[in-house]
Amino acid sequence: MTPILTSLRTTLTGYLRYRGREGHYSFLMHRLTGLGTLLFLIIHILDTATVYFFPSLYEHAIALYQSTPFMLGEIGLVFAVIYHGVNGLRISVLDLRLPEKWTIATQRGGVRMTFILSTLMWLPAAGVMMYNMLQHNYGMFGG
Amino acid sequence: MSNQHQYEVVIVGGGGAGLMAALYASRGAKTAVLSKLYPTRSHTGAAQGGIGAALGNQEEDNTGWHTFDTVKGSDYLGDQDAIEFMCQEAIPVVYELEHMGLPFSRAADGRIAQRRFGGHTNNDTKQPVLRSCYAADRTGHMILQTLYQQCIKNEVTFYDEFQVLDLLVVNGSSAGVVAVELATGELHTFHAKSVIFATGGHGRVWEVTSNAYAYTGDGVAITLRKGIPAEDMEFFQFHPTGIFKLGILITEGVRGEGGVLLNNDGERFMERYAPTVKDLASRDVVSRSMYLEVRDGRGINGKNYMNLDVRPETVNKYAESDGRVLPDGTPYRVTGDDILEKLPDIIDFCRTYLGVDPLEQMMPVQPTAHYAMGGIPTNMAGEVLVDDKNTVMPGLYAAGEVACVSVHGANRLGTNSLLDLVVFGKQAGLRAAEFAQGSDFVSLPGDAESYTHQQIDQFMNGSGKEETADLAKEMKSIMMEHVGVFRTEEGMTQAREKIAELKERFKDVGLEDKGKVFNTEMLDAWELGCLLDVAEVTAVSAVARKESRGAHAREDFPKRDDDNWMKHTLAWMRDGKVDLGYKPVSVTKFEPQERVY
C-alpha cells in the first residue's frame, strides 16, 4: 500500500476504533462540525451570491432551503455551529490563557460541560425551527 | 559472514554502567553499545532511592564515614581499597551527573537534596545520616535518562535490541562478541579490541524478585562458559521490602523518610534487632529479622509478610519517640503531601497493584531477591580477573551489577549500586579505550559464530519434551526456598541437586517458534540456560561457605568466621561441573569487628 493509503487507514482505524476518553470524541466532533459548517458556508455564500449574479435562481435556492430535508440539516447545522463555537472557545481560552489547565480533570469535565451547554443552547433554537418547519411544510399549528 | 562489524570498544549493555562506560570510551576510541533492550529500558531505570555520596549538603558527613559504613555493610568482605576509591570518587561523580543535567531534588538553598538510607551513618553519633542524593523516587530513571541523553549528544553508536550470546576469546584475550539482532534473527559478529560487559544482575533466579524479566545473568553465564570465574556468587541480597507476592520493590527511602515495619502485634520489631538504627539497619539484617518474626508466628495474619507503615501519623509518632529532628534542630514532622512529594511512584505502585493507599493503609511487604553482590571478578580499573592471582584477561572489562569489584562484599548498602555503576563504569570505559589505543585487533577465527549457532540449533532441534516455563518455575521455587534469606546445608544441597537435574532436563527443551524475527521463545530458553548456570554456581558457592556473613545466612553456621572465611569465593564451570577457589580480601584500614546496628 502506498504510504498515503496506509496512513489513511491508520487514521480511520484510530478515529473509529481507538477507545479514547472525552477528548477523543471532542476532537472528532470539533473536526466534523468544523468541516460540516465550512461545507454549508461555501454553499451558502454561493447561493446568496445568486441574488446578484442570477437573481432568478435565488427563489429556487431558497425553496430548496425550505424543504424538509434541508431544514432538518439546518437544525443539525445550528448544533454544529453552537458546539464548534463553545468547544472552540474552551480550547482557545485554555490555549491562550490557561495552558496549565490542560489536565485530565478539567478536560473530562470541560468536554462534558461543553456538550451539555451546547445542547441546552441548541434545544430552544431547534424547537423554534422545528415549529417553523412543521407549520410551513405540514400546515400544522394552524399554519 | 555478512554481518561483520569492527569497533575498538564494544560495550555489552546499555544500563547505567554501560552508558557511563560508553561516554568515556567513545571519547578515545571507536565505540559501539549493544543492548538487548532499548537502553532506556534497562533496569537502572527502576532504581528508586538514590545514589550515595558524602556531599554533606545538609549535615556533616565525610568520605571516611561513607567508606567505613560500606566496609561494615559488606560484613568486611568488601575490598577496602576499592571501597575507599569508590567513596572518594562519589563526590566528583555526583557533581558530574549534575553537570550532565541530572535533575536532582533540591534543598531549600538550591543544593542537591539528600536523604537517609539503611546503613549510612554519622560514625560519631551512630545515627543515620543524610547521604543519599536523589531525584524523588526515580533516581535510577534519571541517571539512565541523563546518561542516554549524553550519549545521544556525543553521538555514541548504538545497536539496540541486539542480544549478545557469546564472547570471543582468542589466545586468552577477548576479541569480540557474537550477537543476535532481534528484529531479524541474524547473527552479527563484533570484532573488538576491548569488550566491556555491563549486563546487570540475575534476580530472576528466584521466585519473588524486584528484578526485571531481562535480569537473567547473561554476562556472568557467558563469561563462565569461556572459563572466566564468577566471584562471591553466594551473596545475593534480599531486599526487605518487596510488595507481597509480586516482589516489586518499595524503596528503603520509605523507611528513610520515617516509615516503619510492624509485625502482626503492631510492634515495631526492628527495635529489638537493631536498637540504634532500627528500621534503617542494613538490608540483610532487616530481611533476616522479618524472616525470624514470621518463623516465630508474628507474620501478618499468620502469613509470611510484614506491614510497612508510612502513614503520616505513624511516621510522626515514631519520629517523636525517636526524638528525630531536622538538621536545623526542629522536630521531624511530615504530612501526607510531604510523603506524596517524596515518594510519588511508590504510592502509585501500591495503588495500582495492591489497591492500597499508603497514606491511609499499611503496605504488605516481604523480602524480595534484589541485587547480585557477586559477579564477574574485576579490579578497580574494571579489568576482568581470571584467577586467584588476579591475572587480568587482556581486553575484557566488566562494570555495574554484573561485576564484582568487590565493593559490596557480602551485603550492599542502599545507594551504593548506582554509585558503583557510574564510578566503575567510567573506569572501565576509560581503561578500555586506553587499552584499545595501545593494541591491535586480535584476528578472529573463521568459525567465530559456530558456538552460537550450536546453541541456537540445540533449541531449534530440541525434542520439546520439556517446557522452558516449567523448568524456570522449578528453579525459582527451589532457589527461593533453599538458597534465599536463610540457608541450611541440607536445603542448599537439595537445591544444588535439583539444579543439576534441571540442567539435564534443559537439554530436552524445544521450540514452537522456528522463525527468526523476534523469536522471543528462543531467547527465553537461552536466558533460562544462563539462569541455570548462575543458579548452580550460586548454590555450589553457598554450600561451601560454612559461616554466616552478610546476605549469606546459615542456620547451621550462624556466626561469621573470619579465621576461615575472610576470603572471596571464585567459581569456575569446567566440564559441566563447578570448581571453587578462593582469594584474599583486601583489608587496608578497618579490622573486622562485630557488626551491630
Binding site: Q66, E74, V78, G88, V128, N132, H136 | -
Partner: protein, 125 residues
C-alpha cells in the same frame, strides 16, 4: 522558574494557530448572531429576495456580512488546510493544496463580496 528570554520566529504555522483561536472567538458573536437571526428569529420561510435586498441595502448589515464572510471563511478554509495537511504529507503536496485552497478561497470570497457589496438586483428577477 526560568527567567531566560527566548527568541523564536513567528512562522505561518504559528500565526495560523493564533489566528484560528482569535478568529474563532470573534466568530462567536458573528456566526451565532447570523445563524440565530436567519434560522431562528426570522426563519428560512420568511426569507426571500426582497428580504435579502433590504438587508443588503443597509450599510451596517453589509459590514456585518463582510466581516462574517472574511473571518468565517478564512477560519474555515485554514481549518480545512490543516485537515488536508494531516493527509498530504509531502512538502510539495502540501504547498499545492494550500495554493488550491487559496484560489478557491479567493474566488468564493470574491463572489460573496460582490454580492454583499453590490446587493440584490431584484429588477432582473
Amino acid at each position: 522558574m526560568n527567567t531566560q528570554k527566548v527568541k523564536t520566529s513567528k512562522n505561518i504555522e504559528a500565526t495560523a494557530w493564533r489566528f484560528m483561536r482569535l478568529s474563532g472567538i470573534l466568530l462567536i458573536p458573528l456566526a451565532w448572531f447570523h445563524v440565530l437571526l436567519q434560522d431562528v428569529v426570522v426563519g428560512v420561510h420568511e426569507i426571500d429576495i426582497d428580504y435579502v435586498a433590504v438587508r443588503l441595502a443597509n450599510v451596517g448589515w453589509q459590514i456585518f456580512d463582510i466581516l462574517l464572510l472574511t473571518f468565517a471563511f478564512a477560519h474555515g478554509m485554514n481549518g480545512l488546510r490543516q485537515v488536508v495537511n494531516d493527509f498530504v504529507h509531502t512538502e510539495k503536496g502540501q504547498r499545492r493544496m494550500a495554493w488550491l485552497l487559496l484560489v478557491i478561497w479567493l474566488i468564493v470570497s470574491a463572489i460573496g463580496a460582490v454580492a454583499v457589496i453590490a446587493g440584490a438586483r431584484p429588477e432582473l428577477a
